[in-house]
Symmetry: C2
Subunit: 669 residues, 2 copies
Amino acid sequence: MAQGKEATKKRTIQNKPASSIIRNAEGRRRVIITKVSPQVERGHFPAKTVVGEETVISADIFSDGHDVVTAAVLVKHEKERQWKEVSMKHLGNDRWQAKWYPEKLGLYQFKVQGWIDHFSTWQRGLEKKIMANQDVHVDLLIGAEMIKERAQEAAASVQDQLYEWGEMLQKSADNGMDMTLALSKKLANAVAQSTKSLVTVYPQVFSIIAERKKALFSTWYELFPRSTSSEPGRHGTFKDVERLLPRIARMGFDTLYFPPIHPIGEVKRKGKNNALVANSDDPGSPWAIGSKDGGHKSIHPQLGTLKDFRRLVNKAKAHGIDIALDIAFQCAPDHPYVKEHPEWFIWRPDGTVQYAENPPKKYEDILPLNFECEDWKNLWAELKSIIDYWIDQGIEIFRVDNPHTKAFPFWEWVIGEIKKSHPETIFLAEAFTRPRLMERLAKGGFTQSYTYFTWRNTKQELEAYMHELTRTNLKHYFCPNFWVNTPDILPPILTHGGENAHIQRLILAATMSSNYGVYGPVYEFVINKPHEAKEEYADNEKYEIKHWDWDKYSRVKEIIARINKIRRENRALQATANIVFVPTSNDQIICYGKADVERENIIITVVNLDPYHTQGAHVNLPLEKLGIEERPYRLQDMLSGSKYTWHEEWNYVELNPYMMPAHVFKIVR
Amino acid sequence: MAQGKEATKKRTIQNKPASSIIRNAEGRRRVIITKVSPQVERGHFPAKTVVGEETVISADIFSDGHDVVTAAVLVKHEKERQWKEVSMKHLGNDRWQAKWYPEKLGLYQFKVQGWIDHFSTWQRGLEKKIMANQDVHVDLLIGAEMIKERAQEAAASVQDQLYEWGEMLQKSADNGMDMTLALSKKLANAVAQSTKSLVTVYPQVFSIIAERKKALFSTWYELFPRSTSSEPGRHGTFKDVERLLPRIARMGFDTLYFPPIHPIGEVKRKGKNNALVANSDDPGSPWAIGSKDGGHKSIHPQLGTLKDFRRLVNKAKAHGIDIALDIAFQCAPDHPYVKEHPEWFIWRPDGTVQYAENPPKKYEDILPLNFECEDWKNLWAELKSIIDYWIDQGIEIFRVDNPHTKAFPFWEWVIGEIKKSHPETIFLAEAFTRPRLMERLAKGGFTQSYTYFTWRNTKQELEAYMHELTRTNLKHYFCPNFWVNTPDILPPILTHGGENAHIQRLILAATMSSNYGVYGPVYEFVINKPHEAKEEYADNEKYEIKHWDWDKYSRVKEIIARINKIRRENRALQATANIVFVPTSNDQIICYGKADVERENIIITVVNLDPYHTQGAHVNLPLEKLGIEERPYRLQDMLSGSKYTWHEEWNYVELNPYMMPAHVFKIVR
């Protein structure tokens, strides 16, 4: 991943002892560059952006004294040879910024450079002296000298011109002619063309990875293929899923994620509700991968054949849907690896294999791989080959199961390697764990990450969390994917808040985060009976095959379809870091705005967080921040269709959760 | 400065492309280390500490999965070969910390390492399983195996013991004997002695410079030696200064700083009040250095001889006072350098030398040195030789004039070089300029810095500024020195606030910052007539010789003596970063506490910021934060001597600026 040789070479200069400044003859470079942004882990990992999106590069750049400083960024794709120069603007307080738009997928490198522009310094001084009616005779001679010097190094095209101008300045010095030329921009530009001198180049090359648009804007639906059959009692197949594609497309999802589709272990298989002993007819957990029927590169026989699968992948594409597979690097006790590669597992003195455990908890149907084993290089290679295999079957998106229980260096390596040949690949990290671990996975290459959104319910919690995601350094590398539920998580609010809460949480996820996901059909059917001990669904689909009436009417389903249509049609909702929160007079009402870069598409979302009662509040739109100049201004609620005319920054809204718990306003021009 | 070869070598690993993880066989190292603190400019410069002071090193350290992580810091002085290991404590949320106390002056290097402690992981698991009444037969066998493995690599001293314990565990496995040994700390420790495996070492070595105590705690007095004569009209001499040493010592100052003591240029010399043309009897500005009598290594003839100077330096030392000299790297037009080294200056087409200017402002009595000149290496060497020369005369402290108008790389080099042979040297940066430049000078090696304190008057301004200095990364490298006034700056509050303001500002400076300074005797004599155009003294001493009645009584002088005595006697006031602000009910009353590391010395300062009116307020002491357990607790105001007994966190204070505008309480035990 990181920036390879050049960066390394440069980096070593950065760390020189001061005494070597002399040896390296750098003493005359007076411009200082620091606090370069974006950088992730001090440049060890690339920052993230999306092809075509505005990407900001900034730094603190300054020099001693009063001379005019100039700065630029040099950018190139790792596969290009030529650096492209993008000039930087001074934002004030010695902070400089350049805006740049990556054109293709993959890793870009950039470096920041600054230098003193002696000619502009001279020009600025001359102007001030003229204003102060000081004698500028000598100053003009100095300028003339400079121009001629520059002319010598200048491109042939401008050379003669420069000499001529030099002469003219000399003359005006002698006979005090007019200063128009001396102070002119054309002269400044012509000189600027010629060589810069004593340029400071920041001693590290940083990198930014440009990903596909979908990395930033995706809408996920999760289902268990085995629960898709039309007849009760029959094991669902890929063909059954094909039947559901139109439904999923109508709901507006562009990513369909399956739990593991591989053969399920029979040894130590779990029964319904995670029972230690399974009945003969229990299908087991799809995450207990591997049996006599094969491992991670095989398909569960009852789901269909590889041919069926490829057909499904193509049909889905035709509906604008990517199939996402689950990468769960662990093995059932009867996974072929256990016999073929015993060296990849931990063996206990009693001759048994070590199963997964977090004492006193045991997961006997799952064996962890030993990332500390002597044969780790072959283990890594084999695991990579699994991802390569499914890429060859047309898969571009992977949801990775519990990546934080596998060695971090492995992920950094495998994702880096895969992206070299397949930069379009998206990896979603399913890590619900401590902040530093989640951050590291994102730094290490995961495109998107599950988040704590699932447990953030109050206005204060939601605003604080969005601030962390969009206003701290996380915004450069941690791309959130807000899931309203998962087979592992039924948040209490969905249990006690019923349908209203399902709608509220859906609208929050879909409008706060440009990536979000739903595990269905339990979500749209508002099935929310909790497990007695855990924040999980009772009779969890992880351990049994369900039969659903997929065509049944569902209000939540209709709203999902509407909100996803709104997301597709409004660029403002296709980014996350652009969120701006709006003060409201009632903590039960949360309000935020989003605008696209051009400020042409502006969306204001207001949500009642209380599933039980109608709530009203005054909301205070920061019209300037949002780029709304008109007074009065008109809004259309894209959920209800109704139009409003607002006059002030403060406006009153009231939302009944039994009707519709939210407004999603678009500013109408 | 920075960390030289080793760091450089390590650094390059840090930046490897992920694919090289395999080549470097680092894949099995599962512990991740990041956010190492302290680091300045990513480790390019050392952080600062003081010999003997508690120095905290911290980092985020974690691993995948649930194993027990252990971490340590390795520290060594750059001149030592042996690394010393200091173990780190987990503070929570994956943050780890080590406390370390540097023993000698100079540059220390440190690196952070972490590893997984499989034995502790096993022990913790065993305990949980026993709690849960699970069968631990196999676990004991696993433990026994581990212990024997470790025994092989263990030191001979513990080897037999380990084998024996391994046997015992084996037995207890078979006959389910008691678990005391298995769970014992002694066993854990014995095993811990033996080799760590797969240790992650953070790929960069960082550095911390340990300076002398005085870098953190110093009390400065500035005077013009030429204004010290006892007879009006006579030019003051070093002998006259000797006469004043007892007075300065009584006032409690430990550092006596002189403006430049060198020959003053005669060409273009400035007259009184910065007049462009001087009268024949005008002495000129001491900062216009150099004449036929010599340059930066010469002494102004009327001040005395080098012998007189050395004598003064020694007498001062006898009074516990260090003489600090002014380093002003610029030349008068008749400075010897101009003839000897014309290549160090900028020459104009009319054959004149370029003088200092910031158009339209001109400083014709001063020529800047050209740090971009071809001969820069000799220029640097010569400037360094000036500092070396005065060090040879016994000077250890330098106040550097306008360092931000000389090239930054020069300072980084020259301070680094000087400190190699003279680590006790202190450099104070007189840079009143933009934040990024002031920060850079401090990073580049300046021991102390002038600050914006001089213009921070309100409670909100003072608290915000102290927060920036003591709660952001500045605390690792920017050591403030609070000056209440200087020959260049007479803050308006001293003009309109009179004596009361002089006392208030003095107490603020002396109690907020462990380094502070006073320019006298104008300060203690409350001479505060402002220049009509600038925030400067009228009839500025920079341009004329003053005659003072040094023995005259002054209330401010008495209070300076008292406050400096309080500083000497209370360790809490000998640091700056330990300040904790206390809420008060009145914005005119500011209150803050300081405690030493052991919490044995606790000082609470309350100051009335209003020079005109009595102000009262409730102050809310955070007794816990300050480590005050007793109820009631007793305080002694060390300014007035009176004692108080307080019962609660909230207490009322009232301060009359015409009596005494402050309390400096000590908690009495």
